[in-house]
């Protein structure tokens, strides 16, 4: 270890993979977890207790659609009692005048509400659910009327990239304080649909300009988080602030991961909260220690002055693109495998192929 072990700051609790929508860019793994494997309420409560004890400050209830779990208000209430900051990451289609007040009463601090697009027809084409947009708009209205802080999340891809200016105007109209304009990250279903989703360089440039203009126009009223697609960058992002440094992700069945895509890493046992304590998993499990710090790094990272800034980039992307999770992230222009990124961008089809929708593979697994 070249650096001291930090306490985790943030916990992403993926309560379920069930979701009424089917976004082809979903960051969930291709093998979705069926309901019967999900952690129980008591198991989640124990996770929250352990996380608070370790120094976690914020818990993000996510999914799938976390509102598919009827015990969500109970988990929020418990987290609030522990002093955790509670954030709900939702598609909003189950948030209504019956379900939302219960969460308010439980002490929920903040909602991040996602939209597939601002254009209704395309949004519902991408989400795969008729009537979803009206429900989302109603969810936004309820949250704003209550006064709870609201962040809107727009995932950006080829078909909606031109509408970023309208998305930003709509965010202000809906009363959001923050908005995320986040280009698709190519893991999980996003990677499977990369050819259909990846914007062109010209589209990317337009979204960047739209964000810059809105930052001026809405200064002091709207905070804009802008996430560009890795593939067009020269340097990778410090994925999750570095492997096992700040962030814990827990899958619906209790697997503990340094990032939500880490289940793709081969030849390692995935620790889970049904067998081990969170503290041990964080400190000592092979999965959390394998890429922590800089000792694992190959060249060119090992002797690079950026190594404690970007931590060598994303391990899952290195695996997906270079076939080796311990390689330098191919996004980096110094990486030996950088030509693979160049090739992906050069061979993007002129006509995007149809989506492969996010679905459970077996018809017997529930989706709702």
């Amino acid at each position: 270890m070249t650096d001291t072990l930090l306490s985790p700051m943030s916990l992403l609790a993926e309560l379920t993979h069930r979701c009424p929508l089917q976004c082809p860019y979903c960051s969930n793994p291709l093998a979705l977890e069926p309901r019967r494997n999900e952690l129980t309420t008591a198991e989640w409560i124990s996770v929250l207790d352990q996380a608070a004890e370790m120094g976690v400050l914020q818990v993000h209830f996510s999914g799938g659609e976390p509102m598919s779990r009827p015990d969500l208000p109970e988990l929020v209430r418990h987290a609030v009692g522990l002093g955790l900051y509670t954030n709900l990451i939702t598609s909003g289609v189950l948030l209504n005048e019956k379900t939302f007040p219960v969460l308010v009463e439980a002490g929920l601090d903040h909602v991040q509400l996602s939209f597939q697009d601002i254009d209704t027809a395309n949004a519902e084409h991408v989400g795969g659910m008729k009537g979803a947009q009206a429900r989302k708009l109603e969810a936004a209205r309820l949250i704003a009327a209550d006064g709870m802080p609201l962040t809107l999340n727009f995932v950006i891809y080829r078909e909606n990239a031109a509408r970023v200016p309208q998305m930003l105007d709509a965010a202000v109209e809906m009363g959001a304080r923050r908005v995320e304009i986040a280009h698709t990250q190519y893991y999980g279903w996003g990677l499977a649909n990369r050819d259909a989703l990846m914007p062109t360089p010209a589209q990317l440039e337009l979204t960047t300009q739209a964000v810059e203009a809105a930052r001026v126009k809405y200064a002091g009223r709207l905070t804009i988080d802008y996430v560009t697609p890795d593939y067009y960058a020269d340097r990778p992002k410090p994925c999750m602030g570095g492997w096992g440094r700040r962030f814990i992700n827990i899958s619906p069945s209790g697997r503990v991961l340094p990032c939500h895509a880490a289940e793709t890493i081969p030849n390692v046992t995935f620790p889970d909260v049904r067998h081990d304590t969170l503290a041990w998993i964080w400190r000592e499990s092979p999965l959390f220690t394998m890429f922590r710090g800089t000792d694992w790094m190959p060249q060119p990272c090992r002797s690079c002055d950026q190594r404690e800034k970007d931590w060598g980039g994303c391990r899952c992307q290195a695996l997906a693109l270079a076939g080796d999770a311990a390689a330098t992230d191919p996004v980096c222009s110094r990486a030996p495998d950088h030509d693979r990124i160049v090739k992906v961008l050069e061979t993007l089809p002129a006509e995007p192929p149809p989506f492969r929708y996010r679905r459970y593979t077996r018809a017997t697994d529930e989706v709702g």
Binding site: G55, N87, R178
Partner: protein, 93 residues
């Protein structure tokens, strides 16, 4: 945002923002939507006095007596700091 900040403005945290003591790291933190950040020691002293009932004037008077410092000097600094925190959506007046 041009908040007109007066002596008798009551200072509050914006909904969804709070000051909290981090036991594990032994320091004060500001909890806010999707981020937690560390106030400098002076800001932490000011924020500890933000309870939703105190006015700007009362916060300044309290700090002045606590640190045995002149009210006008403290008043200027606190005014600047609170204006900044209002612009960053941490406080409302």
């Amino acid at each position: 945002m041009t908040a007109s900040l007066a002596e008798d403005s009551i200072i509050r945290f914006a909904r969804g923002v709070r000051l909290q003591h981090d036991r594990v790291r032994e320091r004060w933190i500001i909890q806010a939507p999707e981020r937690a950040f560390i106030p400098d020691p002076v800001a932490a002293e000011v924020l500890k006095l933000v309870d939703g009932t105190r006015t700007l004037g009362q916060i300044v008077a309290e700090l002045a007596s606590r640190f045995a410092a002149p009210v006008d000097v403290i008043g200027r600094d606190v005014h600047v700091m609170i204006t900044d925190l209002i612009n960053r959506q941490v406080l409302v007046a």
